[in-house]
Symmetry: C2
């Protein structure tokens, strides 16, 4: 493989001159530039990424830190990030944080030493001081599903509040008269906004009572347990809005075990729009986030920040869509 | 951040000497070494990964090339790779090849320029010439689910043939008297071995006929379509072995639509052991590969190759396990 020295020798110039041509900085006269370019072409010289990283230029590598790639929400997002990155010649380092702050910190440390160009955070435990540290280290950063308080970097998320209202109104539209909510961890902005959307839509109904809200931890088993608790408290519930699809899958299993028919006895809807909702029996209605597009957008915003050097914190709030499937298909329209 | 020059200045030695201490090559007397080490500690100097990459040392980065992270088989494997890598201070670059040879080649090219330490291939279209090219470029390589013909690198796979026999014998054990097979793409060693295991187990039965084998392309919709075709050909089929779990999920949906009860009318079993099989109704029996462990092993074998510099091609064939669930729980034991 040709080195920069080979190029310099063939072009009859110094290594510094070749470097100036490559990095397009400093003055090089046209004729010399042409000689260097011809030598580069002739030798098929490729300035390597590691050397560029050392010179403080970009390495063309970004990191994606997410809680767990085996959670069915994240592969589609990761795919979006990777497709957008690959299209611009970037590679993506995958990091599973398990939402452990300590693991995240050690990743950031490891990535800093490798001169990563930037980080996409889809993990939940990123602290304010981590953001500030990365900012002081000049590491471009894009985060997903975060509140915009003291916003130091771009944030991408979906309309969680509006989506929850869509879900609950859909249940009302198909004739539900007592609607429960299985909610996710309230320290997460996504879970919090969805619960708020539920509460504000139903609080004026005579049947509403706070005990219609049960925690399900955003997990399949959490949704399963929540349904058992919920139907003990309120055997007359006829509609359930789950704060994410994984909990809806668990809820569906519990309802089946209890001999409760979906959608005839209880109509069921989730949130997220993961592929799994099309594979259950019956198929699950959901409020779909544009998961793949969120990944694409995160990568594009990050790469723009890296390439322009301008970190301008912006908030992107993407639209959600009601996807009505069998699990809410009831004969009795209200 | 301190540079190697700062360390040299503080220790009162040359940069070359610091480099010799860092890389533990060449002669440095004890006293000088101590001075350098003290300077390193005092300045909290961290030799950076990019510089190590440039010097021909390891960058601590490996790549995982797989067909598509949104295929539910791969997140668990990727998680295994990443966990094992992270435990040894390596980072993992994720590449989705979509099984397109051209995309793989462009990845390999991109990775080569970034001085990646090694590659794990879980993709299907890696050609013999790609393997040879990587070998000639001295890029350590581990592949998954490959045949060991002209084996130039380590191969990790499961007992596909034995697993298929396990599945079919299980269907026989629960009383099935006419067993069909939905198979995957026959250019894949996994699909081929599983079909062979089916054929050799059933070929001596009087009911056996080749039209009991239907292609399902390893996809959900493929399994769905295959069942419809199969039951047209053989309405009396009472057991189906699907070559992977995704096809079994599709088969289950088709059976439900046709009003065929699982397991009462038809017992159904898949292959792989992905998490999805626990979420369907009824839960799916399957032959489980140790997917996570395959990822861990691939990473460990690769890192060992990187660190020892010894590329000794070995074949690892991991055991599979029969997981009997509701979809094969029939009253009538044969």
């Amino acid at each position: 493989m040709a080195t920069i020295r080979d190029v310099a020798r063939l072009a009859g110039v110094s290594v510094a001159t070749v470097s100036r041509v490559l990095n397009q900085n400093g003055y090089v006269n046209k004729e010399t530039e042409q000689k260097v370019i011809r030598a580069i072409e002739q030798l098929r010289y490729e300035p390597n990424a590691v050397a560029r990283g050392l010179a403080g230029k970009q390495t063309g590598t970004i990191a994606l830190i997410l809680p767990d790639i085996t959670n069915p929400f994240f592969p589609e997002m990761a795919r979006g990030v990777e497709d957008a990155a690959q299209a611009q010649g970037y590679t993506v380092i995958l990091c599973n944080s398990d939402d452990q702050g300590q693991k995240e910190k050690s990743y950031i440390e490891m990535l800093r030493k490798k001169y990563i160009d930037g980080i996409i955070f889809a993990s939940n435990t990123l602290g304010q001081e981590d953001v500030e540290q990365m900012r002081s280290n000049n590491i471009p950063l894009v985060v997903l599903d975060r509140a915009p308080t003291r916003q130091l970097c771009s944030v991408i998320r979906s309309q969680n509040y509006e989506g929850a209202k869509l879900a609950v109104r859909h249940l009302l539209d198909v004739g539900c008269r007592k609607i429960a909510h299985i909610y996710g961890p309230q320290e997460l902005i996504t879970a919090k906004k969805r619960l708020l959307g539920y509460e504000e839509t139903v609080m004026h109904f005579p049947w509403y009572t706070p005990s219609l809200m049960v925690p399900g931890h955003f997990r399949v088993d959490g949704g399963f347990d929540a349904v058992k608790e919920l139907l003990k408290r309120h055997p007359d519930v006829d509609g359930i809005f789950c704060g994410n699809d994984l909990m809806a899958v668990g809820a569906l299993k519990a309802l089946y075990q209890l001999g409760v028919r979906v959608p005839e006895d209880v109509a069921l809807i989730g949130f997220d729009g993961i592929g799994l909702t099309e594979l259950t029996q019956p198929e699950l209605s959901t409020v779909a986030q544009p998961i793949y597009e969120m990944g694409v957008l995160a990568a594009k915003v990050l790469m723009e920040t890296i390439e322009t050097g301008v970190m301008e914190p912006r908030l992107y709030e993407l639209e959600v869509t009601l996807v009505a499937r069998e699990s809410t298909k009831r004969r009795a329209e209200a």
